[in-house]
Assembly symmetry: C2
Homo-oligomer: 205 residues x 2
Amino acid sequence: MAKEVKDSSTEEKIKNAARVIFHQKGFAGTRTRDIAEASGINLALLNYYFRSKEKLFDLIMTESLEVFFRSLHSVFNDPTTDFEEKIRRIVENYIDNLSANPNIPIFILSELRNHPEELIKKTGAKKVFLDSVFMKQLKEEIEAKRIKPIHPLQFIMNLLGMTVFPFVASPMIKGIGAIDQAEFESLMQERKTIIPDWIKSFLTP
Amino acid sequence: MAKEVKDSSTEEKIKNAARVIFHQKGFAGTRTRDIAEASGINLALLNYYFRSKEKLFDLIMTESLEVFFRSLHSVFNDPTTDFEEKIRRIVENYIDNLSANPNIPIFILSELRNHPEELIKKTGAKKVFLDSVFMKQLKEEIEAKRIKPIHPLQFIMNLLGMTVFPFVASPMIKGIGAIDQAEFESLMQERKTIIPDWIKSFLTP
DNA sequence: TTAAGAATTAATCAAGTGTTTAAATCTTTT
DNA sequence: AAAAGATTTAAACACTTGATTAATTCTTAA
């Protein structure tokens, strides 16, 4: 009956440390001893609670995919918002999520090279993106000639590129711009409003 | 005096195999035995020619940074091309380079999280980007009110985001779009012309 | 209170990993 | 052709790493 205590102490401590380190160094770069040390627990407890490094990793990865994809599902499929409004919400939602978890994109994308198929399947990415209300609305807007014709994937690449890439490349951005974390974050906040503006301007006929 | 032979056989074989595997799996995920096997050489030869896994890695990383950054230096600083022309050339140059070396961006960016400072310094990124003729021209265009005002870093993030991100996220793009490598490449070719169009459209006042 | 189960610990194991060694083979020079 | 040097090889070494074990401490239920 130590379930409640467990969830909020040892088990959770391990998971939190694991998330930070996995996000920073990836699966191969992370040693179970690092996780144990960072969470202040005995090495054996990692296997006691999670069976193996890989099981723990899968847990963190599933959670991370949830943050990266699932939070968008509702926005993409909200029937009550129009196309423009969805763009604003997607960008804002993403930038908020990634500001709180800045290492998630590079973590997911770099692990993705090792197991592309299964991870993609896990996300249900196709459902979330291409089969969404958002994409239907994009096509409608194009048919109604309210926006310029564009391949849906080209559009998604622009949207994600402009929104996600700065987080993937943040050390590089900070380096070439000679700015610190605070300035970087402020630029990201600014992007919440200007990315939708840019998108609108290259979509309008 | 076997120097000529050496460069074109064993040493080069190791380097080529190392490049492929490092690009795919990163430093931590690569085992020297994998490199040896992939290049068909005895394990000890890796240390015979390159001293250590880390020295070999540094060599590959330096080369990769060269591809990723230095090829742009001349384009960024060409005084004979105007602002618009430079955008076209940068995008085309990048897409050509990355089509030939699609794993370089995710490789560099994921290794970058471990050693941000030194790697950034190695690239001379600030010189290549912010202090370039290209950025001077951007400021001139803004002052002359020929384009909308924009923070140089915001501009660079859009340019790189739209150009580089698809390569970083290619497994994801292919997954969510249900397309194969050939279709992906064709989309990338298309982007060579449409990215400059998009940029132009959101820069014009 | 005490027995039973859960949680924690230090020590250890077995496999994996980067590297080295010493001998063998090949190449070049005289 | 023989000596000297470069290259290659199989084997081993030293260390790391994920995982397990067996004992100990803590917690809970009767």
